[in-house]
């Protein structure tokens, strides 16, 4: 069998998780529609896009990392962990700085504030980096146990 990006087991897992992600996306779009209809605009368009994309994306990436179906056939490369960690630290620094200066607000004029963007990025990249690290550690332990 030729070496492909994902093997058949990984593909079946990814397809299942992708389907669940699609359902979550539908639900989020529905909720967004209802909130806009009965309450009004809950965020500016770009932020709305970010939220609607990031939450399902985080679901997909976290679950596929947990099931060993992420980042090709190799065990997770260290570079991705480092890059994600760096993104988490940088966005975390921005959020922390805003909080310390008393400038961080979640809701502004009845809508989600634009500062949520950095917070979401921090959660996404930090969560992914942690999930990758945990998976890497578990894989190593499994290998040692087998040997």
């Amino acid at each position: 069998m030729k070496l492909t990006r994902y093997d058949e087991f990984q593909l079946s897992i990814r397809h299942r998780i992708a389907f669940q992600t699609m359902i979550i996306t539908f639900i989020m779009i529905m909720i967004s529609g209802y909130v806009k209809t009965f309450y009004g605009t809950w965020a500016n368009p770009m932020l709305e896009m970010l939220v609607l994309i990031m939450i399902p994306a985080m679901y997909f990436s976290t679950l596929s990392i947990a099931k060993n179906a992420y980042l090709q056939q190799k065990d997770q490369p260290a570079l991705i962990i480092i890059l994600m960690g760096l993104a988490a630290v940088l966005s975390g620094a921005a959020v922390t700085s805003n909080i310390l200066n008393g400038m961080f607000t979640l809701i502004e004029n009845g809508q989600l504030s634009n500062q949520i963007g950095s917070l979401l990025l921090m959660i996404y990249s930090g969560g992914t980096a942690i999930a990758l690290l945990i998976r890497r550690t578990k894989n190593r332990r499994m290998m040692e146990k087998e040997e």
Partner: protein, 66 residues
């Protein structure tokens, strides 16, 4: 699904680790682990590849009575 102990035994006879066998057939070690533990039912193509790598038949590894 039941564990595939025949596969594990055949791999041990050839002195192959899960990682080495997985590499030989073009899957990840985790997939090979899932097959041995009965957590995943491999496709016929993958079954044939595993048999070729272990120099055994489908009957020896996947079919027939336990």
């Amino acid at each position: 699904m039941a564990k595939n102990l025949r596969l594990k035994a055949a791999r041990a006879t050839k002195d192959l680790s899960q990682a080495k066998l997985a590499e030989a057939v073009g899957v990840t070690r985790q997939t090979m682990n899932a097959i041995e533990n009965g957590d995943y039912n491999p496709s016929l193509q993958l079954c044939i590849a595993i048999c070729k790598a272990l120099d055994l038949t489908l009957n020896d590894l996947f079919w027939g009575n336990d």
